[in-house]
């Protein structure tokens, strides 16, 4: 019996039972493009490093955005009435009048009058302690806490205060400070997003060069695949699969390291918070803690890096072949 005759006969029932004498450990479907090469490992390392850096940027931006949001929330919940002492005026009477006006406004949850001593203490960091400030016209403050439902009409309150105590009482809703804080936070988040985009672009370029190198290095593989009847799309898919695998490996390592770095930073920050210095740092800069959204964005960056790797390699291969 001749081999071709047999194979031709078998072709008529291609899914017939396999020869039971076939070796069970026969390797059957190895990747068509060699995978575990030095160039492949280097590319995976580059993608891992880039993903790690992008993950750090995204996490840092997330920390800033979260903390800025908290600060803004806290600050926006409070407004301050400032009552300036004037010649021939009874400051205490002016303060209590302003307080009455404030309390009569809907949406004001709480009004706390800073006593003269408290107001003077606020100046201590600038003027030092032990000074007699009784002769200085130190303004008095009333801190108003707004109700959560934000129903307070600050514009009306400001008008009423100005009408009742013209040139004496003024309302500060911290709008300028909030706006600056918001601008700074947005700028930081924007820089973070920009860096993530730059890193992804760098990943794409690195993959382009690596794919071109791999195509040149595997020229014979490509040629043989063409001769045995593979079309360009099949070859592009083989390369894409290989590079997507490398991207996935690099992306997973980079994102994993970034997550680990944030977890360690969070633990260290929690340990440091127990001391007084840690509390001050936290009060100033906020908590060094990446929320679920932060971790999710780091993982997303890893996935995007892998997808970018796969897509860019496919496009590069198609261009190379055409």
């Amino acid at each position: 019996m001749s081999a071709p005759a047999t194979t031709r006969a078998q072709a008529e029932s291609p899914s017939g039972p396999a020869d039971p004498s076939l070796p069970t450990n026969l390797r059957r479907n190895a990747a068509l493009v060699p995978t575990d090469t030095a160039a492949g490992r280097s590319l995976a390392a580059v993608i891992a490093i880039l993903t790690f850096l992008a993950g750090l940027c995204a996490g840092a931006a997330e920390i800033v955005a979260t903390n800025a949001g908290q600060w803004q929330g806290d600050v926006a919940q409070e407004v301050t009435i400032q009552v300036r002492p004037g010649p021939g005026r009874d400051v205490d009477a002016d303060v209590s009048r302003a307080e009455t006006i404030a309390k009569s406004e809907p949406g004001i949850a709480e009004a706390r009058v800073f006593s003269k001593a408290e107001a003077e203490r606020l100046l201590e960091p600038w003027l030092g302690s032990g000074l007699d400030l009784s002769d200085l016209p130190v303004p008095r403050l009333i801190a108003l806490k707004l109700a959560d439902n934000r129903s307070a009409d600050l514009k009306r309150l400001r008008t009423r205060l100005t009408e009742a105590l013209p040139g004496v009482a003024s309302l500060d809703d911290h709008a300028l400070w909030l706006q600056r804080l918001s601008t700074a936070a947005n700028a930081f988040v924007g820089i973070g997003v920009g860096m993530v985009v730059l890193v992804l672009v760098a990943t794409g370029l690195a993959v382009t060069f690596a794919t071109r190198g791999a195509m040149a290095g595997n020229r014979e593989v490509v040629e043989v695949l063409h001769f045995v009847g593979a079309d360009d799309d099949y070859i592009a898919r083989a390369f894409q699969r290989r590079f997507f695998g490398l991207g996935l490996r690099g992306g997973a390592i980079g994102a994993g390291l970034a997550i680990l770095a944030f977890a360690i930073a969070g633990l260290l920050a929690r340990a440091a918070r127990s001391g007084p210095a840690g509390q001050e740092v936290e009060a100033l800069f906020g908590a060094v803690q990446v929320g679920l959204r932060g971790y999710a964005s780091v993982i997303l960056i890893g996935v995007i890096a892998s997808v970018v790797t796969g897509v860019v390699s496919r496009i590069t291969v198609r261009r190379f072949l055409s």
């Binding site: 001749s2 081999a3 071709p4 005759a5 047999t6 396999a18 593989v221 063409h226 045995v228 009847g229």
Partner: protein, 230 residues
């Protein structure tokens, strides 16, 4: 459609006044005209550097002629689409002089490659690949990677890869160059059997022993020109 007149069937390969030069160099082939009939068997011979490999590459469509017309399976190939090119190549089997096995794939995977790239599932061709491997004497070597095969084993693997998809046209470049005369005759018998089953065969060779063993048409290349000895 099959004609009733003998020799009037559509040729598998047809060259008309084909000329070929690489870059600005001299013409490697000049005014080459021939037809390869379906189910025919022929040798392509000539001294080294006469253009045998170039002629095979023209048939394989890996290079295009500088002038003249080349038709493969009745299709004129200038301006052929990539899809049609793949379709034509799937009807050809080729044995390269340097084998061109993929070093990172096992012998089994190399031989199965033409079926795999057609998108067939591994289970559907496993038995036929293993049977062909056993038939060419590589049954015990199907796990081996090509760098571990001897020259003769590589050659048999390359031949098995060319045959596995049962091509309509088989091109073989010095297929018996690295094997002992006994195996050479056995491989020649394999080509002849394949030819009887309907495949057109072109064997490029220097080996007069092989050529004298078969009464077949000889295409002799010399100084870029082709002479046919019926």
């Amino acid at each position: 459609m099959k004609s009733l007149l003998p020799g009037a069937e559509r040729p598998v390969v047809q060259f008309e006044n084909v000329g070929m030069r690489y870059g600005l160099g001299p013409e490697v082939l000049s005014d080459v005209s021939f037809r390869i009939a379906p189910r025919s068997f022929q040798f392509l011979t000539g001294p080294s550097g006469a253009g045998k490999t170039t002629l095979l590459r023209l048939i394989l469509l890996s290079v295009r002629p500088t002038r003249g017309l080349v038709s493969i399976f009745g299709e004129e190939v200038s301006g052929i689409s990539a899809k049609a090119l793949t379709g034509l190549r799937r009807r050809m089997g080729v044995v390269f002089q340097d084998f061109r096995l993929l070093d990172h794939l096992t012998t089994y995977e190399n031989v199965a490659l033409p079926l795999r790239v057609q998108g067939r599932s591994e289970a559907s061709y496993r038995a036929e690949v293993v049977e062909l491997l056993r038939w060419v004497g590589l049954g015990e070597r199907m796990h081996a990677l090509p760098p571990l095969l001897s020259g003769g084993e590589k050659q048999r693997a390359a031949i098995a890869r060319a045959l596995i998809a049962r091509p309509d046209l088989l091109l073989a470049d010095e297929p018996t160059g690295n094997v002992d005369p006994g195996l050479g005759r056995r491989l020649l018998r394999l080509f002849l059997e394949l030819n009887k089953l309907g495949t057109s065969v072109i064997i490029a060779t220097h080996d007069f022993g092989i050529m004298d063993a078969v009464d077949a048409r000889r295409m002799v290349l010399g100084e870029g020109r082709l002479r046919i000895e019926e």
